[in-house]
Each structure stands twice: as structure tokens, then as C-alpha cells.
């Protein structure tokens, strides 16, 4: 038997199939009449049976049955005595007729089943290809938006028309509803879509459900709650989709819903992880804070109570205690300032009020404020005289200078020189605060900017900082559109660089003036 090509037979229209059956049977009968002298009656029956089997194997059951009946008549008419009548003299031939009929119907039923199986297998193979292509694309989708893009594309290919995806939303009363916008703006479509999503079955032309709906609706539903629907507009030349495509679309919708569920689950896990991480940081912050705040408080309380109780304390001792109180309260002030700045940087509420100004001014304020801290650290300021004005927030940049200089003093032995320099680089000013201290632990050039990162203990027993200074610097510089980084050439100290872009604020000029006119006698 030749291989079955179901597509071949189903492509031929039914009328032609009956005609073909009649022609094949007639031709076989004609051949039998021509060869009558050489053939027995049994041979003739076999020949006609072959024709019936052939028809039944290639054509639909109707034409096959017709071929069987026709060949029985042909056999009776031409080969069963008396010849050329429909009268049957030997009742034994009736059995032959019955056999021919049974063979024809069995054959055609068998063929139909094989054909159906093949169709089914083909549809399944096609569905498998579609689903696997979709799965592959979904695996590459990083966000829910990507997933929806992929879904619209794949469903659109099968439906042959533009496809939009509509996900469930939370209504004001908290109930999940499909949005009444876009393709779902039409009330009837919205109802059909809602039904399809709930039932988990496609609806629209060709699906057997809501055939009169103007669009094809594919539910995006896995085992859990339905996620939404895909709405496809069928192209004008396509009145309905095939049952096979309906199944493929159902499978695709299930896959998309599963992908969305997976993503939601991942997002929940990530949120939980971040939450735990945040909790860990908060705990670290609390323990670090309580230590940093309690230490100066303990010194202050101790010194003050001694001053109160010990009336006969020598003057020098009283002075030392008072100085302790002063120094420790300044330390607390600095810590609290840093903490408040940290909160502002973290909350993203850093309002940057930029104004064109010379860097020298903010640096000057910082140096003055750190007069005591930097007492034993010679600071060289090397700002080129032609350095342009920079658009910065003076209070914030002052804080950056303070934190970087304090950081240098904290990690360098007394007497270490510190240099502040700046240079114009393309469209930004690059500032460098460098010291000749022990440098940065190799490999930690990035980590030192992280919150609560504390460098190794300083040689001069400085009180350790809270590990916030550099993090605040990074926050402030980033808010100015600049970059901050650190490097350390081994043994010769640490250098902190930051850039301040000159763009971002309209350029500002200063009116020229007769440069060297003496003030005397003029105004």
C-alpha cells in the first residue's frame, strides 16, 4: 500500500471524489470484459475488489462505499451468469457481494482512522513546534513587558492578525477585572473575553464558542487564576481559525500564563531577599550607631559628672575634662550630620541647588571648618588660577570636601601631607584629594564607597568613623552627574578623584571691567 497523504485526498472536492471512484471501478470492469476469455469469474471478483480497496485507501468513506456498490453491480451485470442482467442464478455469488461490501467499508474506515491519526499527529507536531518556539522566546524575556511582547508576537503569527494582550487589573473595590480599554473597550468583546479567561478556552470565529465575536480571544490561564487574554483581529481573508490552531493557541496561552506566574514568583522572592538584606543592614546600622553614639555620650557624661562632684579638682584637670566634653560633642555633631546626609542621599531627596561658583570657596569653608582636625596635616591647595566656575550646590560640595579631608586625616598618621588639586577635563572639572598615607587595601577601591565600610584602624588611634562619609560623597557627586573613584599607588598614599560636569546649567558670564584701575578717586 502506498503511503497515505491525507492532505492529498482532503484537497479534492467530494464531487470529484465520487467521479474518480466511478471511473476507477468502470475502468476495472471494462478491462475485465476485454480480458474475459483469459480470466475466471473469481479473478474478475479479485480485480474489482482491488479497485475497491484502492478507492477506499485513497478517497473518503462515501466514495469508497459507492465504489463497493458499483463494483457489485458491475460484477453481477458483466461476470455473473446469466451475463448482462442483474439476475443472480447462483446464490453463492451473494456471498461474494457481501465480502466485497465488507472489505470496502472496513478498508475505508481503517483509512479514515489512519488519516485522522496522521492529521492529529501533524497538528500535535505543529503545536509542539509552536509551543517550543514560544517557550524558547519566553526564556529570554527578562520582564513581564518582554513576556507580553513575545506572547503578542507568537499568538499573532498563528492568528494571522494584530494581537494585543490585556492583563487583569485590580479594580477600586479590589476585585480583579480585565481593563475596558483598547481592544476590550467594546462591552460585548469584554464579556466574551472575561468568559474566555474564566473558562480557560479560546473564543471567537472557528473556536466553536462565541463564533460571532468580531475578534479571536485566547485566554492566558495556567492552573492558577487567569492572568489575562490575548485579543487577535483575524485578517479579512480568514473567516475562522481551524480546530488545530485553536488547540495550539490554548497551549500558547497556558505557556504565557505560566511564564507570568513564574516571573511574579521570582519578583516575590527577590523582594523577600531585598527585604531580608535591608533588615540585615538596618540591624548593622543600629548596632554601629548605638556604639558610635554611646561612646562619645559616655565620655561626656563621665567628664561632666566628675566636674560636678570633684570640687577640689586642679585647674588643669578641670580644663581637660571640659575639653573632652567639647571634643566628644563635636564628634557627635559630625556623626549626626553624616547620618542626616545619609538619610537624604538614601531617600533620594537630595535637592541639588546648583549655582556657578569657584571651587575654591567651598574648599575654603571646608578647610576652615576642619581647622582643628587638620591641624597636624599640612594641606596643599593646588587649584589652577584659570579653573572655570562649576555648577554645584555649595553646601553639598563643601560636605564632599569635608568628608574626603576627614577621611584622609582619619587614615593617615599625623604629619602626613594632603593635596587638593583640580584640572579641567573635556567638559568636566576633575578634583583630586590625595594623601601620602598608607593607601587603600588593594582590591577594596570600590568597596570603600559602600555603606558602613570601615577602613583599617588608623595608626594614631583616631576614633573610627561610621563608614558613611564616602558613601555620602558618592551620593552627592552622582546627584551632580559626576563620578567618584579612588586609587592607590602602593606605599605612596590614597587618591580620591571626582568629576563635576560643567553642562546642565545655562552658562553664566560675568561682565568685564577695566581690570587694573586703582580704586583711589574712582567709584
Amino acid at each position: 500500500m502506498p503511503p497515505i497523504h491525507p492532505a492529498d485526498s482532503s484537497a479534492i472536492r467530494p464531487g470529484w471524489q465520487y467521479a474518480a471512484a466511478a471511473v476507477i471501478v468502470s475502468a476495472t470492469a471494462g478491462l475485465g470484459i476485454l480480458l474475459r476469455a483469459h480470466l475466471t469469474t473469481i479473478d474478475m471478483a479479485m480485480l474489482l475488489l482491488l479497485a475497491v480497496v484502492f478507492v477506499a485507501s485513497r478517497l473518503r468513506p462515501g466514495p469508497a462505499l459507492a465504489a463497493a456498490v458499483l463494483s457489485i453491480f458491475a460484477f453481477d451485470f458483466a461476470f455473473v451468469p446469466p451475463f448482462y442482467t442483474l439476475h443472480v442464478s447462483d446464490t453463492a455469488y451473494l456471498l461474494t457481494f457481501a465480502v466485497m461490501l465488507v472489505v470496502a467499508t472496513t478498508m475505508s474506515r481503517l483509512t479514515a482512522r489512519i488519516r485522522a491519526d496522521a492529521l492529529d499527529a501533524d497538528a500535535r507536531a505543529r503545536a509542539a513546534v509552536m509551543v517550543s518556539a514560544l517557550t524558547q522566546d519566553l526564556a529570554g524575556a527578562a520582564s513581564p513587558a518582554d513576556i507580553l511582547d513575545v506572547a503578542a508576537r507568537h499568538i499573532g503569527v498563528i492568528a494571522g492578525g494584530g494581537t494585543t494582550i490585556h492583563l487583569y487589573e485590580r479594580a477600586a473595590d479590589g476585585e480583579a477585572v480585565l481593563p475596558s480599554t483598547g481592544a476590550l473597550a467594546d462591552a460585548a468583546t469584554h464579556i466574551v473575553a472575561t468568559w474566555a479567561a474564566r473558562a480557560g478556552q479560546p473564543a471567537g470565529p472557528g473556536t466553536g464558542r462565541f463564533e460571532d465575536a468580531g475578534v479571536l480571544i485566547v485566554p492566558l490561564a495556567s492552573d492558577a487564576e487567569p492572568a489575562g487574554v490575548a485579543v487577535a483581529v483575524l485578517p479579512a481573508q480568514r473567516a475562522a481559525i481551524s480546530p488545530a490552531d485553536t488547540e495550539v493557541l490554548t497551549a500558547l496561552g497556558r505557556q504565557v500564563a505560566a511564564a507570568l506566574d513564574r516571573h511574579a514568583l521570582d519578583a516575590r522572592h527577590e523582594a523577600a531577599r531585598v527585604e531580608i538584606e535591608g533588615e540585615r543592614l538596618r540591624t548593622a546600622l543600629l548596632s554601629s550607631l548605638s556604639h558610635d553614639l554611646r561612646t562619645p555620650l559616655a565620655s561626656i557624661e563621665g567628664a561632666a559628672s566628675t566636674l560636678l562632684q570633684a570640687a577640689a579638682l586642679p585647674h588643669a584637670d578641670r580644663r581637660e575634662l571640659a575639653e573632652t566634653i567639647l571634643a566628644e560633642s563635636r564628634r557627635m555633631t559630625s556623626l549626626v550630620t553624616n547620618l542626616l546626609n545619609m538619610v537624604r542621599v538614601e531617600a533620594g531627596s537630595l535637592a541639588v541647588k546648583r549655582e556657578w561658583q569657584p571651587l575654591e570657596e567651598s574648599l575654603g569653608v571646608a578647610l576652615l571648618r576642619l581647622d582643628e582636625t587638620l591641624h597636624h596635616y599640612p594641606v596643599t591647595v593646588a587649584l589652577p588660577p584659570d579653573l572655570p566656575l562649576v555648577p554645584v550646590d555649595e553646601l553639598l560640595i563643601e560636605q564632599v570636601f569635608i568628608n574626603l579631608l576627614e577621611n584622609a586625616a582619619q587614615h593617615c598618621p599625623s604629619g602626613t601631607p594632603i593635596t587638593v588639586s583640580a584640572a579641567l577635563r573635556d567638559d568636566a572639572v576633575e578634583v583630586t584629594v590625595a594623601d601620602r598615607g598608607p593607601g587603600i587595601v588593594p582590591g577594596s577601591e570600590d568597596a570603600i564607597f559602600e555603606k558602613f565600610h570601615r577602613g583599617p584602624a588608623s595608626p594614631d588611634n583616631h576614633p573610627a568613623g561610621a563608614g558613611l562619609g564616602l558613601t555620602i560623597c558618592r551620593g552627592i557627586i552622582t546627584a551632580h552627574g559626576g563620578r567618584i573613584w579612588a586609587d592607590s599607588s602602593d606605599g605612596s598614599g590614597a587618591a580620591f578623584h571626582f568629576t563635576l560636569p560643567l553642562a546642565g546649567l545655562p552658562a553664566a558670564g560675568v561682565p568685564a571691567e577695566a581690570a587694573e584701575s586703582a580704586a583711589a578717586g574712582k567709584s
Partner: protein
């Protein structure tokens, strides 16, 4: 002959802060009137006629600015506002509305006394009094009659704008002057937003007058607010000396 001790009205709601101010000021020879509320503060300001007012801007019962305006409407009594760091805009508004100076919490005793002395000194000058002919501070000497500027004995040449700026700062010597005020006095009413003019000329002045322009001792920056010209003579503790003599 000794003048009576100047009286200071403290309007501050925090008890510990009031106690610190009270103790410090009394120890330095001032009479102290104190109150925790704006309402009572206004009554004292009118009834006891203080020589100077220390006003906390963060009072619970009234906006500090309302008090400044009300006080200014009545008298020229100097007002020094006290406020927290990070509230620069409040200070600027307070100063532009008539406050004479400010202190940022936390502040030291030296700073507190210097501000009060400078403010009292300015208040002691009758309105419209001719400016002193010579200003001297930290090695700077300005002869305002001859329009000559000397730095450690050597004459320095200033441009007309630089000299105008220095002149404006001398008129307010020892006190903070807001950006707006300086721009108004030097460039005119149309230029009060051009802060960068001021910054550029300030930098020029520092390069001509300061020993180390990167660490100004004379022309100091009040971040976010304005500038101050240090006035050594006004900050000097002449009253304390007088009290020691009295005792």
C-alpha cells in the same frame, strides 16, 4: 562712668539651650530676660526694652519671621536668629527681613559673644552717622576717605567693583551680609539673582587681600547665606574688661 550692663532677651523654647545661653551671658556681664514662647517674647520686647534679641527660628507657637517683622516695625533692636544647619533658606529670609545676624546650632561661646558684640556696636551708631574714616582688621587697613587699601602696610589696587564690594562689607563689618544684599548694594536691584558675579569678585578680593585665599580669615563665606568681613575691633571684649575694672 560705666554704662549699665546690656540686656539680652532670649526667645528659645528648648530649656537646655536657654540655660546654656542664660549662664554664659550672665557670666559675661549681660542682663538676661528669657522666655520660651513667641507670645511672651513679644510682650517682653515691648515692655522691657532689651538691647538685643536672641530668637530661635523654630518656635512652636509662631513663625520666627512674623516675630522679626513685628519687632522691626517697632524698633531697631538688633535681632540674632538661632537656627539649625540645613535651614539656610530660613536664615536668608530672616536676614533679608531685618534680622542682624545668625547663629547655627551647635555654636560655641566665642561665636555667640562675638555676634552679640558686633550687633550691639552697630546698634550703638546713630542712624545716618557718618562711617568711620578708617577700617582695620587682620592686617587690612582701608582709608575710606582717601579710598586707599593697604595689606600689611602695602597699598593694594582694587578695581571699582572690588572696592564697592569691600565698601559694602565694611559698612556691615563683623555682620553677615546676604548674597542678595551685597548684589543689591554693589550691582543694583536688577542683579540680585546673579550670585556668580558676587562669587567671582569675592574670589578676586580674596586673592588680593588674604594671606592664603584658599583659607580666608578676613572675608569668610557663610555657606548658603552670604559673606562676613571679620571685624577684630568689634569682636573685642571691651565690656568684660570694663566689668573687671568695676569689680
Amino acid at each position: 562712668m560705666l554704662t549699665p550692663a546690656p540686656s539680652v532677651l532670649i526667645i528659645e523654647d528648648e530649656a537646655s539651650m536657654r540655660r546654656f545661653l542664660h549662664t554664659t551671658l550672665r557670666a559675661n556681664g549681660y542682663q538676661v530676660i528669657e522666655t520660651a514662647s513667641a507670645k511672651e517674647g513679644m510682650i517682653h520686647a515691648a515692655g522691657r526694652n532689651p538691647d538685643i534679641v536672641l530668637l530661635d527660628l523654630g518656635l512652636p507657637d509662631a513663625d520666627g519671621l512674623t516675630i522679626i517683622r513685628a519687632l522691626r516695625a517697632r524698633a531697631r533692636t538688633p535681632i540674632i536668629v538661632i537656627s539649625a544647619r540645613g535651614r539656610e533658606q530660613d536664615k536668608v529670609i530672616a536676614l533679608d527681613d531685618g534680622a542682624d545676624d545668625y547663629l547655627t546650632k551647635p555654636f560655641g561661646v566665642d561665636e555667640l559673644l562675638a555676634r552679640i558684640r558686633v550687633a550691639l556696636r552697630h546698634a550703638a551708631l546713630p542712624p545716618g552717622a557718618p562711617p568711620r574714616p578708617v577700617f582695620e582688621s587682620e592686617g587690612l587697613r582701608v582709608d575710606l576717605v582717601r579710598r586707599q587699601v593697604f595689606r600689611r602696610g602695602e597699598e593694594v589696587h582694587l578695581t571699582p567693583t572690588e572696592y564697592k564690594l569691600l565698601g559694602a562689607l565694611i559698612r556691615h563689618a563683623g555682620r553677615v551680609v546676604t548674597h542678595r544684599q551685597l548684589l543689591h548694594e554693589v550691582w543694583g536691584a536688577g542683579f540680585v539673582e546673579q550670585t556668580h558675579y558676587l562669587r567671582v569678585y569675592m574670589a578676586q578680593l580674596r586673592h588680593k587681600l588674604e594671606a592664603d585665599p584658599a583659607r580666608p580669615r578676613l572675608l569668610t563665606t557663610e555657606p548658603g547665606v552670604g559673606y562676613r568681613l571679620r571685624d577684630e575691633t568689634a569682636e573685642l571684649d571691651d565690656r568684660a574688661i570694663a566689668f573687671e575694672v568695676q569689680e
